[in-house]
Symmetry: C2
Subunit: 283 residues, 2 copies
Amino acid sequence: MSTVAPSQDPYATHARLLNVFEEALRKHIAGWETWPALLRESCAYALGTGGKRVRPVVCLMAAEACGAPLSAALPFALAVELIHTYSLVHDDLPSMDDDDFRRGQPTCHKKFGEAQAILTGDALLTEAFAVLGAAQAPAAQVALLATAAGGGGMVGGQVLDIDTAPVPDCDALEHLHRLKTGALLRAAVLGGGLAAGANADAQAALSRYGAALGLLFQITDDLLDASQDADAGNRSYLNHLDADTLRARGETVAAEAGDAARSLGAGGEAMALFADAIRTRKS
Amino acid sequence: MSTVAPSQDPYATHARLLNVFEEALRKHIAGWETWPALLRESCAYALGTGGKRVRPVVCLMAAEACGAPLSAALPFALAVELIHTYSLVHDDLPSMDDDDFRRGQPTCHKKFGEAQAILTGDALLTEAFAVLGAAQAPAAQVALLATAAGGGGMVGGQVLDIDTAPVPDCDALEHLHRLKTGALLRAAVLGGGLAAGANADAQAALSRYGAALGLLFQITDDLLDASQDADAGNRSYLNHLDADTLRARGETVAAEAGDAARSLGAGGEAMALFADAIRTRKS
């Protein structure tokens, strides 16, 4: 077994970037003094329920791989996590997935009531763009994030997902996931590159990596759900493919992500290993 | 009675700018081909239910008063109306105001269901920033809009508004309205100025005008509600002031708006008259 240098250990990289991100998030939340106290509390609650912070971390990884200081990409990383968090708050609502718990804690509407949860999501979504504006982010970052999160991206995917009709085939399912989860993950990666001033070749590689990562996430989710007998409704790849085929597909996609990341040079190695860590994750 | 030149007739100015805006809005909606059809439909429905389009129109008026072509301010005008529309869709939801009709049409959730209405609002809010990003709007416009619409602005005001505790006094009520409706109106006016490259003096005048306009709107609403015996709960100025005092306050505020607008030069006359038209409106 080969020794992995600290900078190439995906868990160490993740932990380091996670620390940087959590510190920036804490500072950012502390700046909400002019907000009504209840809204500050509900937004902080939604943001604070842990999680791996995959989107901001891959955003920071991409910036680092492109040779930028982390500070350049922190606004985009924050913005992406604010958007991801709002989407969870709204997805959990009674009229949507009607979930009572998320990561072992009461969901936002169980704790603060439905109206407050809707407004919490609205505030988090709006704040994502306040962060970019305050950081004087170029319009390309605003366009990237809004396009990925909006009607042609994440929200569009959620509209497809709440449709009660069964998903007809694997292509339709992939389209749904590409919008619902893939678009924001890809934007997270690309945003890190934009913040780093990556050239067109690097942007293309980041786009490939981000798209593969989104797909990989979903494949692994579906395999994990099946192994835990979770009910994935008709939204699982396993309704269309058997587990071995899906596992093989995961390997192909992880290899694609790895190739794309390594094309960025030595700095992409952590990203390649991170993709493989996602493929082999157990939860 | 003095003759009013066409350019100084506030209704003619409003009608002209409304036409320009509606045309731009139609074109913009036509660009949503990549969105799921149902989301396109629900977003267009929410945007299409008429209304005076006060926010985009004052945005365009401000740009014109500062000597810019309307095209410079159209992205901001669109973005503001997208935000305003999303806020109506979410405010109407069962867990909020639970309204079945808006301007004589079924509200978005009555027509499309609650989950779809939440997502419609989310898509419209996100699209506001997609518009600014695609138009390469400077970060100052993004920051202005997001700050006005977010937790320290419109969403914060809505959080205060759904609080069931009575509003203690006139100052608290004014704070609520300044956040809930004033912040976005002020941003609409200031955004038109920003798009026009207004200097600091003009920005200050626009800020005063926008703040006065927001206040004036609420004062007139409360006076109209009282004359129509509508129930304004404990959110009416008339719980704290008698009608004559409130009417006099409206006159003072309209005069303030007029002074601020006229300080912009001849181009501000239409804005001054528009403020007075809002003071004397009958619906």
